[in-house]
Assembly symmetry: C2
Homo-oligomer: 128 residues x 2
DNA sequence: GTTCATATACGAATATTTTCGTAATACAAT
DNA sequence: ATTGTATTACGAAAATATTCGTATATGAAC
């Protein structure tokens, strides 16, 4: 079980999203994906990626004169950690309360709700 | 619909939890509830509450020589905001993905899962 | 190899959050 | 009123996160 205990900052998390979605990409791509120069200066993103590299949040690989960055922590793990933390800091340890808030507000489609039900049944089956 | 648009910091959120759980309390109570002097200096908590007061995150009322603090934003609203944000920064806009992560990891009890199912059925009923 | 455009490296400034020491204040007891 | 203890006020330091200007380096084109 890979529990790498990372704690990305908010901006770092934004970047990780992009890396997860797009695989190894150059700074330029991240910069553009985040809304270009209107949103963040190029060197700001570059710097963030460099810091993330120092922290071990990303690996990078040279390709010609540029670097291609890749996320180290998995999306799965990271999501899990964030949720776990939120469950106990904001939802008093109850996953259910979180689920209910999540479903209550964002009006999910019927299909989604169904899929969740299926998922629940699967969980009930294979319970420890 | 009360959408007060607050953005408590992490520490502030921790304090809000306590205020929500315990109603109007003194600094001392918050301090103790957060683990006493081992965890945070008294004046640190005091200062945080003062800042929260300036920001309008809490109201306070004198009672003898001390202040009793009370949360302004509701727990409901705050949870909602946090979840919404997380859904779109971490779960690509899909509440379902969040729900699945939440249920998958934290092993919820059978009772909880059942209750969620009931809740889902209620949602399916009254859909827009 | 010189020039040009593009990328990275680096350091420092700015902003935000958290922590804490010290001073001032308030009430209670004497 | 004076003293003692608990509380608040305040300012500044420390820690963390974000932004950006400028210097350096790299490779491509000539």
């Amino acid at each position: 079980m890979n529990r790498s205990q990372v704690k990305p900052t908010e901006k770092e998390l934004e970047i990780l999203q992009i890396l997860w979605a797009r695989g190894p990409v150059a700074v330029k791509d991240v910069h553009e994906a985040m809304g270009g120069e209107d949103m963040n200066g190029y060197t700001t993103i570059l710097k963030l990626l460099q810091i993330m590299h120092e922290k071990g949040l990303v690996t990078r690989q040279k390709s010609g004169k540029l670097h291609l960055y890749k996320a180290v922590p998995s999306q799965e793990n990271t999501r899990q950690q964030i949720i776990d933390k939120m469950i106990d800091t904001v939802f008093q340890g109850s996953a259910m309360q979180l689920v209910m808030s999540a479903l209550g507000n964002k009006k999910s489609s019927k299909e989604e709700l169904l899929e969740i039900k299926k998922y629940l049944e699967k969980l009930e089956g294979g319970e420890q």
